[in-house]
Protein backbone atom coordinates (compact mmCIF):
# COMPACT_ATOMS: atom_id res chain seq x y z
CA UNK A 1 0.00 0.00 0.00
CA UNK A 2 2.84 2.31 0.92
CA UNK A 3 4.60 1.52 -2.35
CA UNK A 4 1.46 2.35 -4.28
CA UNK A 5 1.20 5.67 -2.47
CA UNK A 6 4.86 6.41 -3.26
CA UNK A 7 4.29 5.49 -6.90
CA UNK A 8 1.31 7.83 -7.09
CA UNK A 9 3.28 10.60 -5.42
CA UNK A 10 6.19 10.14 -7.81
CA UNK A 11 3.90 10.35 -10.85
CA UNK A 12 1.46 12.92 -9.47
CA UNK A 13 2.24 15.50 -12.16
CA UNK A 14 1.79 13.02 -15.02
CA UNK A 15 -1.49 11.81 -13.48
CA UNK A 16 -2.76 15.38 -13.04
CA UNK A 17 -1.80 16.13 -16.66
CA UNK A 18 -3.63 13.04 -17.92
CA UNK A 19 -6.70 13.88 -15.82
CA UNK A 20 -6.91 17.49 -17.03
CA UNK A 21 -6.26 16.45 -20.63
CA UNK A 22 -9.01 13.83 -20.38
CA UNK A 23 -11.44 16.46 -19.10
CA UNK A 24 -10.49 18.79 -21.95
CA UNK A 25 -10.76 16.10 -24.61
CA UNK A 26 -14.10 14.86 -23.27
CA UNK A 27 -15.49 18.41 -23.50
CA UNK A 28 -14.13 18.66 -27.03
CA UNK A 29 -15.51 15.29 -28.22
CA UNK A 30 -18.86 15.90 -26.58
CA UNK A 31 -19.38 19.22 -28.28
CA UNK A 32 -17.49 19.11 -31.55
CA UNK A 33 -19.11 17.03 -34.27
CA UNK A 34 -15.96 17.04 -36.45
CA UNK A 35 -13.78 15.84 -33.58
CA UNK A 36 -16.21 13.08 -32.67
CA UNK A 37 -16.56 12.02 -36.27
CA UNK A 38 -12.80 11.91 -36.86
CA UNK A 39 -12.26 9.97 -33.63
CA UNK A 40 -14.94 7.51 -34.66
CA UNK A 41 -13.37 7.01 -38.10
CA UNK A 42 -9.98 6.28 -36.57
CA UNK A 43 -11.06 4.06 -33.70
CA UNK A 44 -14.44 2.84 -34.89
CA UNK A 45 -13.18 -0.25 -36.68
CA UNK A 46 -11.42 -1.60 -33.56
CA UNK A 47 -14.34 -0.82 -31.25
CA UNK A 48 -16.86 -2.30 -33.65
CA UNK A 49 -14.83 -5.52 -34.08
CA UNK A 50 -14.94 -6.04 -30.32
CA UNK A 51 -18.65 -5.20 -30.18
CA UNK A 52 -19.36 -7.49 -33.16
CA UNK A 53 -17.77 -10.41 -31.37
CA UNK A 54 -19.79 -9.67 -28.27
CA UNK A 55 -23.01 -9.29 -30.24
CA UNK A 56 -22.44 -12.62 -32.03
CA UNK A 57 -22.56 -14.34 -28.69
CA UNK A 58 -25.51 -12.27 -27.60
CA UNK A 59 -27.35 -13.07 -30.88
CA UNK A 60 -26.70 -16.76 -30.37
CA UNK A 61 -28.12 -16.61 -26.87
CA UNK A 62 -31.23 -14.74 -28.05
CA UNK A 63 -32.01 -17.03 -31.01
CA UNK A 64 -34.99 -18.67 -29.39
CA UNK A 65 -36.57 -15.31 -28.45
CA UNK A 66 -36.07 -14.01 -31.99
CA UNK A 67 -37.62 -17.14 -33.43
CA UNK A 68 -40.66 -16.71 -31.21
CA UNK A 69 -40.97 -13.06 -32.25
CA UNK A 70 -40.66 -13.93 -35.96
CA UNK A 71 -43.25 -16.67 -35.64
CA UNK A 72 -45.63 -14.25 -33.93
CA UNK A 73 -45.04 -11.63 -36.63
CA UNK A 74 -45.61 -14.23 -39.36
CA UNK A 75 -48.86 -15.32 -37.76
CA UNK A 76 -50.05 -11.73 -37.53
CA UNK A 77 -49.18 -11.04 -41.17
CA UNK A 78 -50.82 -14.27 -42.31
CA UNK A 79 -54.00 -13.48 -40.42
CA UNK A 80 -54.08 -9.98 -41.96
CA UNK A 81 -53.48 -11.46 -45.40
CA UNK A 82 -56.26 -13.98 -44.97
CA UNK A 83 -58.75 -11.33 -43.98
CA UNK A 84 -57.88 -9.09 -46.95
CA UNK A 85 -59.24 -9.27 -50.40
CA UNK A 86 -56.85 -8.20 -53.13
CA UNK A 87 -58.90 -6.68 -55.91
CA UNK A 88 -56.21 -5.43 -58.26
CA UNK A 89 -52.53 -5.76 -59.18
CA UNK A 90 -49.80 -4.21 -57.12
CA UNK A 91 -48.43 -1.09 -58.80
CA UNK A 92 -44.95 0.33 -58.27
CA UNK A 93 -45.07 4.04 -57.42
CA UNK A 94 -41.92 5.40 -59.11
CA UNK A 95 -42.23 8.73 -57.29
CA UNK A 96 -41.79 7.16 -53.89
CA UNK A 97 -38.80 4.96 -54.67
CA UNK A 98 -37.76 3.83 -51.19
CA UNK A 99 -35.38 0.91 -50.93
CA UNK A 100 -34.55 -1.11 -47.82
CA UNK A 101 -31.11 -2.55 -47.04
CA UNK A 102 -30.61 -5.13 -44.38
CA UNK A 103 -28.25 -4.47 -41.49
CA UNK A 104 -27.42 -5.86 -38.11
CA UNK A 105 -27.07 -3.95 -34.91
CA UNK A 106 -23.78 -4.34 -33.08
CA UNK A 107 -24.46 -2.05 -30.15
CA UNK A 108 -27.72 -0.41 -29.12
CA UNK A 109 -28.29 2.77 -27.08
CA UNK A 110 -27.36 2.24 -23.42
CA UNK A 111 -29.92 4.59 -21.89
CA UNK A 112 -27.55 7.51 -21.31
CA UNK A 113 -28.76 10.80 -22.84
CA UNK A 114 -26.17 10.96 -25.64
CA UNK A 115 -25.44 7.35 -26.51
CA UNK A 116 -25.36 6.01 -30.05
CA UNK A 117 -26.01 2.70 -31.73
CA UNK A 118 -23.45 0.93 -33.90
CA UNK A 119 -24.41 -1.26 -36.86
CA UNK A 120 -23.03 -2.89 -39.97
CA UNK A 121 -22.69 -2.44 -42.94
CA UNK A 122 -21.02 0.91 -43.60
CA UNK A 123 -19.57 2.34 -46.79
CA UNK A 124 -19.11 -1.22 -48.10
CA UNK A 125 -22.91 -1.59 -48.10
CA UNK A 126 -23.46 1.79 -49.82
CA UNK A 127 -24.75 3.29 -46.59
CA UNK A 128 -24.40 7.04 -46.19
CA UNK A 129 -25.25 9.57 -43.46
CA UNK A 130 -28.87 10.71 -43.35
CA UNK A 131 -30.52 7.38 -44.17
CA UNK A 132 -33.42 6.34 -41.96
CA UNK A 133 -33.24 3.16 -39.89
CA UNK A 134 -36.15 0.86 -39.07
CA UNK A 135 -36.44 -1.92 -36.51
CA UNK A 136 -39.28 -4.39 -37.04
CA UNK A 137 -40.97 -1.87 -39.31
CA UNK A 138 -40.84 0.99 -36.78
CA UNK A 139 -38.66 4.09 -36.79
CA UNK A 140 -35.41 3.44 -34.94
CA UNK A 141 -33.09 6.33 -35.87
CA UNK A 142 -30.94 7.73 -38.61
CA UNK A 143 -27.41 7.03 -39.85
CA UNK A 144 -25.19 9.78 -38.48
CA UNK A 145 -21.71 8.71 -39.51
CA UNK A 146 -20.28 5.98 -41.71
CA UNK A 147 -17.05 4.03 -41.44
CA UNK A 148 -15.64 1.44 -43.83
CA UNK A 149 -17.73 -1.48 -42.63
CA UNK A 150 -19.87 0.06 -39.88
CA UNK A 151 -22.15 2.97 -39.30
CA UNK A 152 -23.13 4.99 -36.25
CA UNK A 153 -26.85 5.52 -35.69
CA UNK A 154 -28.50 8.42 -33.93
CA UNK A 155 -31.49 6.69 -32.36
CA UNK A 156 -34.80 8.07 -31.12
CA UNK A 157 -33.21 7.70 -27.67
CA UNK A 158 -30.82 10.63 -28.06
CA UNK A 159 -31.62 13.63 -25.92
CA UNK A 160 -30.40 16.16 -28.49
CA UNK A 161 -32.45 14.82 -31.42
CA UNK A 162 -35.91 15.99 -32.56
CA UNK A 163 -38.02 13.96 -34.98
CA UNK A 164 -40.79 15.27 -37.17
CA UNK A 165 -43.96 13.21 -36.78
CA UNK A 166 -47.75 13.16 -37.00
CA UNK A 167 -50.43 12.09 -34.57
CA UNK A 168 -52.29 9.51 -36.62
CA UNK A 169 -51.68 9.18 -40.34
CA UNK A 170 -53.25 12.51 -41.22
CA UNK A 171 -53.04 14.36 -37.90
CA UNK A 172 -51.14 17.54 -37.01
CA UNK A 173 -47.35 17.75 -37.02
CA UNK A 174 -45.37 17.66 -33.79
CA UNK A 175 -41.82 16.99 -32.57
CA UNK A 176 -40.82 13.78 -30.87
CA UNK A 177 -37.93 14.00 -28.39
CA UNK A 178 -36.45 12.03 -25.51
CA UNK A 179 -35.78 13.54 -22.09
CA UNK A 180 -32.85 11.21 -21.42
CA UNK A 181 -34.43 9.43 -18.46
CA UNK A 182 -36.72 6.50 -19.23
CA UNK A 183 -36.01 4.34 -22.32
CA UNK A 184 -39.73 3.47 -22.50
CA UNK A 185 -40.95 7.08 -22.60
CA UNK A 186 -40.58 9.60 -25.42
CA UNK A 187 -42.12 13.04 -25.33
CA UNK A 188 -44.26 14.52 -28.08
CA UNK A 189 -43.82 18.28 -27.90
CA UNK A 190 -45.35 21.34 -29.53
CA UNK A 191 -48.77 19.75 -29.96
CA UNK A 192 -51.45 22.46 -30.46
CA UNK A 193 -53.83 22.54 -27.51
CA UNK A 194 -56.94 21.86 -29.59
CA UNK A 195 -55.59 18.50 -30.79
CA UNK A 196 -57.30 15.59 -29.14
CA UNK A 197 -55.50 12.29 -28.74
CA UNK A 198 -56.25 9.19 -26.75
CA UNK A 199 -53.93 6.75 -25.08
CA UNK A 200 -52.99 4.10 -27.64
CA UNK A 201 -53.09 6.41 -30.66
CA UNK A 202 -50.20 5.80 -33.05
CA UNK A 203 -47.53 8.40 -33.86
CA UNK A 204 -46.24 8.18 -37.44
CA UNK A 205 -43.31 9.75 -39.27
CA UNK A 206 -44.27 12.85 -41.24
CA UNK A 207 -41.80 12.22 -44.06
CA UNK A 208 -40.75 15.88 -43.97
CA UNK A 209 -37.24 15.12 -42.78
CA UNK A 210 -36.55 13.09 -45.98
CA UNK A 211 -35.15 10.23 -43.89
CA UNK A 212 -38.31 8.16 -43.57
CA UNK A 213 -41.28 7.73 -45.84
CA UNK A 214 -44.44 9.15 -44.29
CA UNK A 215 -46.56 6.77 -42.21
CA UNK A 216 -43.88 4.71 -40.45
CA UNK A 217 -44.94 4.02 -36.84
CA UNK A 218 -42.80 5.79 -34.24
CA UNK A 219 -44.72 5.14 -31.04
CA UNK A 220 -48.00 5.05 -29.17
CA UNK A 221 -49.52 7.76 -27.01
CA UNK A 222 -49.40 6.80 -23.34
CA UNK A 223 -50.76 9.83 -21.55
CA UNK A 224 -51.58 13.44 -22.33
CA UNK A 225 -50.47 16.34 -20.20
CA UNK A 226 -52.56 19.50 -20.60
CA UNK A 227 -51.16 22.27 -18.38
CA UNK A 228 -53.49 25.22 -18.01
CA UNK A 229 -52.53 28.49 -19.66
CA UNK A 230 -50.35 27.00 -22.37
CA UNK A 231 -51.13 27.00 -26.10
CA UNK A 232 -49.19 23.80 -26.63
CA UNK A 233 -49.36 20.49 -24.82
CA UNK A 234 -47.06 17.50 -24.63
CA UNK A 235 -47.87 13.79 -24.75
CA UNK A 236 -45.96 10.85 -23.32
CA UNK A 237 -45.20 8.30 -26.03
CA UNK A 238 -44.07 4.69 -25.84
CA UNK A 239 -41.55 3.98 -28.65
CA UNK A 240 -42.74 1.43 -31.20
CA UNK A 241 -39.24 0.01 -31.66
CA UNK A 242 -37.79 -2.10 -28.90
CA UNK A 243 -34.38 -0.61 -28.17
CA UNK A 244 -33.35 -3.33 -25.75
CA UNK A 245 -33.89 -6.42 -27.88
CA UNK A 246 -33.48 -5.22 -31.46
CA UNK A 247 -30.74 -7.08 -33.35
CA UNK A 248 -31.71 -6.70 -37.01
CA UNK A 249 -32.40 -3.38 -38.66
CA UNK A 250 -33.48 -2.11 -42.06
CA UNK A 251 -31.71 0.91 -43.48
CA UNK A 252 -33.89 2.83 -45.88
CA UNK A 253 -32.64 4.84 -48.76
CA UNK A 254 -34.60 7.00 -51.12
CA UNK A 255 -33.76 6.15 -54.71
CA UNK A 256 -34.55 9.72 -55.73
CA UNK A 257 -32.49 11.01 -52.82
CA UNK A 258 -30.07 13.18 -54.77
CA UNK A 259 -32.94 15.06 -56.41
CA UNK A 260 -34.67 15.68 -53.09
CA UNK A 261 -31.47 16.83 -51.40
CA UNK A 262 -30.70 19.14 -54.29
CA UNK A 263 -34.13 20.70 -54.12
CA UNK A 264 -33.88 21.30 -50.36
CA UNK A 265 -30.57 23.16 -50.66
CA UNK A 266 -30.84 26.94 -50.21
CA UNK A 267 -31.11 28.81 -53.48
CA UNK A 268 -28.02 30.70 -54.58
CA UNK A 269 -28.47 34.13 -56.04
CA UNK A 270 -25.90 35.72 -58.35
Amino acid sequence: MRNLWLLLQRNAFALAFIALMSVSLSVLFRNSGAARSSWYRQTGSVASRVEQQRSQWSNYLHLSEQNTELARENALLRSRLLSMEITGDWQVDSLRGWEVREGSLIKGPDGTPHSFALASPGEDGAISPGMGVLASGSAYGTVEDVGEAHCRILTLLHAAARWSCRIGRNGPLASLTWNGKDMERLVLEDVPRHVSAEAGDTIFTSGYDLRFPPGVPMGFVLSTDRPSGSDFVSFEVEPAANFLTTRHIDIIVSRSDSERVELTLPEEFP
Binding site: F13, L20, V27, N31, S32
Partner: protein, 170 residues
Protein backbone atom coordinates in the same frame (compact mmCIF):
# COMPACT_ATOMS: atom_id res chain seq x y z
CA UNK B 1 -1.46 38.12 -9.68
CA UNK B 2 -1.19 35.39 -12.34
CA UNK B 3 -4.89 34.58 -11.91
CA UNK B 4 -5.86 38.23 -12.32
CA UNK B 5 -3.65 38.55 -15.40
CA UNK B 6 -5.22 35.45 -16.96
CA UNK B 7 -8.77 36.68 -16.28
CA UNK B 8 -7.99 40.14 -17.65
CA UNK B 9 -6.37 38.86 -20.85
CA UNK B 10 -9.04 36.21 -21.44
CA UNK B 11 -11.75 38.88 -21.15
CA UNK B 12 -9.77 41.26 -23.36
CA UNK B 13 -9.18 38.61 -26.01
CA UNK B 14 -12.80 37.45 -26.01
CA UNK B 15 -14.41 40.88 -26.04
CA UNK B 16 -12.04 43.25 -27.80
CA UNK B 17 -9.16 41.50 -29.52
CA UNK B 18 -11.03 38.50 -30.88
CA UNK B 19 -11.16 39.78 -34.44
CA UNK B 20 -7.78 41.46 -34.51
CA UNK B 21 -6.22 39.41 -37.31
CA UNK B 22 -4.68 41.70 -39.95
CA UNK B 23 -4.15 38.91 -42.50
CA UNK B 24 -7.03 36.65 -41.50
CA UNK B 25 -6.14 33.08 -40.58
CA UNK B 26 -2.44 33.77 -41.29
CA UNK B 27 -2.12 36.07 -38.29
CA UNK B 28 -4.59 35.07 -35.56
CA UNK B 29 -2.86 35.89 -32.28
CA UNK B 30 -3.64 34.37 -28.88
CA UNK B 31 -3.19 37.32 -26.54
CA UNK B 32 -4.10 35.42 -23.38
CA UNK B 33 -0.97 33.30 -23.82
CA UNK B 34 1.12 36.16 -22.49
CA UNK B 35 -0.46 35.83 -19.02
CA UNK B 36 0.49 32.14 -18.92
CA UNK B 37 4.03 32.80 -20.12
CA UNK B 38 4.65 35.29 -17.29
CA UNK B 39 4.61 32.48 -14.70
CA UNK B 40 8.11 32.43 -13.14
CA UNK B 41 10.25 29.43 -14.13
CA UNK B 42 10.92 28.60 -10.47
CA UNK B 43 7.25 28.06 -9.62
CA UNK B 44 5.94 24.49 -9.26
CA UNK B 45 4.83 22.37 -12.25
CA UNK B 46 1.30 21.93 -10.87
CA UNK B 47 0.77 25.69 -10.84
CA UNK B 48 1.81 25.92 -14.49
CA UNK B 49 -0.41 23.02 -15.48
CA UNK B 50 -3.44 24.39 -13.65
CA UNK B 51 -2.84 27.88 -15.04
CA UNK B 52 -2.77 26.47 -18.59
CA UNK B 53 -5.97 24.54 -18.00
CA UNK B 54 -7.68 27.56 -16.40
CA UNK B 55 -6.66 29.83 -19.26
CA UNK B 56 -8.04 27.36 -21.81
CA UNK B 57 -11.25 26.92 -19.84
CA UNK B 58 -11.69 30.69 -19.63
CA UNK B 59 -11.10 31.14 -23.35
CA UNK B 60 -13.50 28.32 -24.22
CA UNK B 61 -16.24 29.75 -22.02
CA UNK B 62 -15.72 33.29 -23.29
CA UNK B 63 -15.35 32.40 -26.97
CA UNK B 64 -17.69 29.40 -27.18
CA UNK B 65 -15.07 27.05 -28.62
CA UNK B 66 -15.96 24.01 -26.47
CA UNK B 67 -12.71 22.40 -25.44
CA UNK B 68 -10.24 23.51 -28.14
CA UNK B 69 -8.43 26.04 -25.94
CA UNK B 70 -8.70 23.71 -22.93
CA UNK B 71 -6.74 21.02 -24.79
CA UNK B 72 -4.16 23.49 -26.11
CA UNK B 73 -3.83 25.30 -22.75
CA UNK B 74 -3.45 22.07 -20.78
CA UNK B 75 -0.82 20.77 -23.18
CA UNK B 76 1.15 24.01 -23.02
CA UNK B 77 0.77 24.17 -19.22
CA UNK B 78 2.04 20.60 -19.00
CA UNK B 79 4.99 21.35 -21.28
CA UNK B 80 5.98 24.63 -19.59
CA UNK B 81 8.16 22.96 -16.90
CA UNK B 82 10.04 21.07 -19.65
CA UNK B 83 10.34 24.22 -21.75
CA UNK B 84 11.72 26.15 -18.77
CA UNK B 85 14.19 23.34 -18.11
CA UNK B 86 15.33 23.15 -21.73
CA UNK B 87 15.82 26.90 -22.01
CA UNK B 88 17.44 27.29 -18.58
CA UNK B 89 20.80 29.12 -18.50
CA UNK B 90 23.84 26.98 -17.75
CA UNK B 91 24.01 28.17 -14.13
CA UNK B 92 20.25 27.81 -13.65
CA UNK B 93 17.63 30.42 -12.83
CA UNK B 94 18.17 33.00 -10.08
CA UNK B 95 15.54 33.08 -7.35
CA UNK B 96 14.46 36.54 -8.48
CA UNK B 97 14.42 35.77 -12.23
CA UNK B 98 11.15 36.47 -14.01
CA UNK B 99 10.43 35.54 -17.63
CA UNK B 100 10.85 39.12 -18.80
CA UNK B 101 13.24 40.76 -21.22
CA UNK B 102 15.14 42.61 -18.49
CA UNK B 103 15.94 39.44 -16.51
CA UNK B 104 16.36 36.81 -19.20
CA UNK B 105 17.61 38.70 -22.26
CA UNK B 106 16.18 38.87 -25.75
CA UNK B 107 17.40 35.51 -27.23
CA UNK B 108 15.83 33.57 -24.35
CA UNK B 109 12.66 35.63 -24.56
CA UNK B 110 12.27 35.18 -28.33
CA UNK B 111 12.85 31.43 -28.17
CA UNK B 112 10.50 31.06 -25.20
CA UNK B 113 7.66 33.07 -26.75
CA UNK B 114 7.97 31.44 -30.16
CA UNK B 115 8.19 27.83 -28.92
CA UNK B 116 5.26 28.30 -26.53
CA UNK B 117 3.14 29.97 -29.20
CA UNK B 118 4.08 27.23 -31.68
CA UNK B 119 2.98 24.47 -29.29
CA UNK B 120 -0.30 26.27 -28.63
CA UNK B 121 -1.10 27.03 -32.27
CA UNK B 122 -0.16 23.56 -33.52
CA UNK B 123 -2.42 21.99 -30.89
CA UNK B 124 -5.22 24.36 -31.86
CA UNK B 125 -4.62 23.39 -35.49
CA UNK B 126 -4.98 19.67 -34.74
CA UNK B 127 -8.08 20.01 -32.56
CA UNK B 128 -9.83 22.42 -34.92
CA UNK B 129 -9.13 20.50 -38.16
CA UNK B 130 -9.11 16.90 -36.91
CA UNK B 131 -8.92 15.26 -40.31
CA UNK B 132 -5.35 14.36 -41.28
CA UNK B 133 -5.82 15.44 -44.88
CA UNK B 134 -6.79 18.98 -43.77
CA UNK B 135 -3.81 19.49 -41.47
CA UNK B 136 -1.00 20.10 -44.07
CA UNK B 137 -2.88 23.01 -45.63
CA UNK B 138 -3.44 24.60 -42.20
CA UNK B 139 0.15 24.10 -41.00
CA UNK B 140 1.58 27.28 -42.56
CA UNK B 141 -1.14 29.58 -41.15
CA UNK B 142 -0.53 28.01 -37.71
CA UNK B 143 3.19 28.71 -38.05
CA UNK B 144 2.69 32.33 -39.11
CA UNK B 145 0.07 32.81 -36.38
CA UNK B 146 2.57 31.48 -33.84
CA UNK B 147 5.15 34.03 -35.02
CA UNK B 148 2.52 36.76 -34.86
CA UNK B 149 1.43 35.70 -31.35
CA UNK B 150 5.07 35.79 -30.21
CA UNK B 151 5.39 39.32 -31.66
CA UNK B 152 2.16 40.47 -29.99
CA UNK B 153 3.33 39.05 -26.65
CA UNK B 154 6.63 40.88 -27.10
CA UNK B 155 4.81 44.16 -27.81
CA UNK B 156 2.63 43.69 -24.70
CA UNK B 157 5.76 42.88 -22.81
CA UNK B 158 7.56 46.03 -23.92
CA UNK B 159 4.49 48.11 -23.05
CA UNK B 160 4.21 46.73 -19.52
CA UNK B 161 7.85 46.01 -18.68
CA UNK B 162 9.62 48.81 -20.50
CA UNK B 163 13.41 48.25 -20.59
CA UNK B 164 15.30 50.41 -18.08
CA UNK B 165 16.71 53.56 -19.69
CA UNK B 166 20.43 54.01 -19.54
CA UNK B 167 21.50 56.98 -17.54
CA UNK B 168 23.17 59.65 -19.65
CA UNK B 169 26.82 60.46 -18.97
CA UNK B 170 26.11 64.16 -18.09
Amino acid sequence: MTVLRIILLVVLQALLLRDVAPLGEWTRPQWALWALLLIPPQSGPFGKLLAGFAMGLGLDIAMGTYGQHMVAGTLLGGLLPTLHRVLAPREGYEVTDRPILRDMGSPWMMAYLFLSALVYHLTLLVVSQWYWHLIPSAFLPALTSAIFTALCCLILHLMVYAPARRKSGN
